[in-house]
């Protein structure tokens, strides 16, 4: 795909930065997939390869003290929000030093230090939780905002309606982002979703909503930026529908036989890192620099992966820690 002609005045340094981040996300997930082959990542992995522009763009528009909630496909969002790649890989391998001490794994990755309040193993569950996080911000009169990312499959679950209505009724500072990769597991979401889609539904619930090319990192970031500014100014919740495509299977072990190879091949040509690279090239950034971004990212994840493998597993006593204070099994109360 040719560089967007309207993008004559892009900020090259910034795009370069997003390009690097997208490579870091991809390399992290490639390391995770290798972990599956190496049988060190044991639980399910949902890669976001091909969807990195949404993580990089949306999170790029957030402040560090803003709050992010994500889905089962949340590695990119988490890394973009500022989590350490090594801690993340440790978590995926269930090791000491993982963000959740190895107790959550991929589907529960979270880093409260950087405002990342968690992936979630239940589709759509974070939509209401995010509304509530924003509710607390409003009650506490803070100027943070909450960003909640979910998939196109989540818009058919009740919490989508309940959470959006909640955010609108209470005029809460939250940006909902529907990361629309066309699929819910092995099912094309279009086959199971009626009506005009995520943004139309959001508008019907009273939210201002926009659609964006989710493979265009700058477009995502610009749109998110504008929406976030409005939210931070007290304008209430906003909704961003970002279209993308999942280049891998649903999980690390899914070969995705349910979709034609040529569809995937065609979509590969539109993937966000390639597009960012073409823009950079077009703007005169040397090919070697672009390749260096990738190489650096891969080296970082290689090292993080090695460190994760070398890290010990948590001991069995962790099974009883952080269950609860009152009647905790750690206190012999079972």
């Amino acid at each position: 795909m040719a560089p967007d002609p309207h993008r004559s005045n892009i900020d090259i340094a910034h795009l370069r930065d997003r390009h690097r981040l997208m490579w870091r996300i991809r390399a992290l997930e490639q390391a995770a997939l290798r972990g599956l082959d190496d049988k060190v990542v044991l639980g399910a992995i949902h890669p976001s390869i091909g969807q990195e522009a949404i993580a990089a763009g949306v999170v790029g528009a957030l402040r560090r003290d803003d709050i992010l909630l994500s889905t089962h496909r949340g590695h990119g969002h988490t890394l973009a929000k500022g989590a350490s790649s090594e801690a993340m890989l440790r978590e995926l391998l269930g090791r000491v030093g993982g963000n959740c001490g190895g107790k959550g794994g991929s589907m529960h990755i979270a880093d409260f230090e950087v405002g990342m309040l968690g992936a979630n193993g239940v589709v759509g569950a974070n939509i209401v939780i995010a509304a509530g996080a924003a509710h607390a911000i409003k009650l506490k009169r803070e100027d943070k905002i909450v960003c909640c990312i979910f998939g196109d499959g989540a818009i058919n679950r009740g919490p989508f309606l309940e959470g959006l209505n909640w955010a609108a009724v209470f005029n809460l500072p939250v940006l909902f982002v529907c990361e629309d990769n066309g699929f819910a597991a092995t099912t094309r979401t279009s086959s199971m979703t009626a009506g005009g889609g995520p943004a139309v539904r959001a508008r019907a619930i009273g939210l201002q909503a926009e659609e964006v090319d989710g493979n265009d990192v700058l477009a995502v970031e610009d749109t998110a930026q504008a929406m976030i500014a409005a939210i931070r100014a007290g304008g209430g919740p906003r909704f961003l529908h970002a279209k993308t495509y999942r280049l891998t299977g649903h999980t690390g072990v899914d070969t995705a036989p349910y979709r034609p190879a040529d569809e995937v091949a065609a979509r590969k040509l539109e993937e966000p890192i390639l597009r960012a690279a073409e823009l950079l090239l077009g703007a005169g950034v040397p090919e070697a620099d672009i390749a260096a971004d990738r190489a650096e990212a891969e080296a970082e994840m290689e090292a993080a992966y090695a460190a994760a493998i070398a890290a010990p597993f948590p001991g069995p006593e962790e099974a009883f820690r952080d269950v609860q204070d009152v009647g905790s099994p750690a206190l012999g109360a079972f």
Binding site: G132, A133, L139, G163, W166, Q324, D325
Partner: protein, 320 residues
């Protein structure tokens, strides 16, 4: 000491905690008009609609949003109206609230109180009468409280609001008007400490919530028959006062657990099994048959655990 109702006790507890801690707020349907039973009456006038917040009919959002708000440092008191409606928000309570702290490796806490009024209440039928306390006692991460008196409803609600764990707080709908003495001042009842309602040497009866009062009447009847039953009000099902129950049961040599909830899979099974495992004494449960609750009074009453049944069970255990 002052004499107030079970409902008023909870109202005072919430008001006092809201005065003490600005981060405490309550949310649920119709709270601005006092809540469906009047248990929030007058509070919006003092605390305003942000802290005594109405909600849409969105149980999943009420509970789910409270999980988010709790993780962000506020302390929501969540009103579910009838425990039956909380079944519209089970993912939010069981998969989210109860597990967040653990699965995120201790990075967060979810200090919320979910008020779920339980029990049979004047022909409310199958969808407004359930007692599902045993469900939540089975879920790691949750605290389960079932107050039976005005004093406890004040002291336990305060404890629940101050607790850093998610608490399922089950008031019994039939108890709202019950009057009783409540200590003055900052009366807080610690979780996991049972109350001996009546001492006795012949048998230990364990119960909670409204059933405690039925058991107390049964104990009176038994006393008239020369049988001294020790009655223990468990107050909280998780944690539950294993020590008090074991000590009493070891002393009396017999244990009867009585609850309004369905007997099969009820929390009475846990207590009976626990004690039988440890003491090998006679244990017996009295719980509802495994049937939904009907509307017509005789149908409703057929699944109630009465004073007479309690007396008969005790006499039978004593071979009388």
């Amino acid at each position: 000491m002052s004499i107030i109702s079970y409902m008023e006790a909870a109202r005072q507890a919430l008001a006092e905690e809201m005065r003490r801690d600005k981060l405490v707020w309550a949310v649920g349907e119709d709270l601005g008009r006092g809540g469906v039973f009047g248990q929030y009456r007058g509070l919006v006038e003092e605390f305003g609609p942000e802290r005594i917040s109405d909600a849409p009919i969105s149980e999943a959002a009420i509970l789910g949003a409270s999980v988010g708000a709790a993780m962000m440092g506020t302390r929501p008191v969540v009103e579910m109206r009838f425990s039956d409606f909380a079944l519209c928000a089970v993912d939010e309570l069981v998969n989210q609230a109860a597990k967040a702290r653990f699965m995120f490796g201790g990075q967060t806490r979810v200090p919320l109180v979910v008020r779920e009024p339980i029990g049979m209440w004047r022909s409310s039928a199958a969808q407004h009468s359930q007692s599902l306390e045993s469900w939540y006692a089975h879920i790691p991460g949750l605290v389960v409280a079932c107050p039976s008196t005005p004093a406890d409803n004040k002291g336990m609600l305060k404890a629940a609001i101050r607790c850093d764990d998610p608490v399922v707080y089950m008031e019994h709908k039939n108890l709202w008007p019950l009057e009783g003495e409540v200590p003055e001042g900052d009366h807080v009842v610690p979780f996991g400490v049972a109350r001996t309602v009546r001492p006795g040497k012949d048998i230990t009866i364990v119960s909670w919530s409204a059933q405690v009062h039925v058991c107390a009447r049964a104990a009176d009847v038994l006393a008239g028959q020369g049988i001294e039953a020790e009655l223990i009000d468990l107050r909280t099902l998780w944690p539950w006062d294993q020590q008090a129950v074991l000590e009493s049961a070891a002393r009396t040599g017999r244990l009867l657990v009585a609850h309004e909830a369905v007997q099969v899979g009820g929390f009475g099974a846990e207590i009976a099994a626990f004690v039988a495992e440890r003491l090998g004494i006679k244990v017996r449960r009295l719980g509802a048959p495994r049937a939904p609750i009907g509307y017509a009074p005789p149908v409703e009453d057929a699944v109630r655990i009465s004073e007479t049944m309690t007396v008969a069970a005790v006499r039978d255990m004593l071979g009388k």
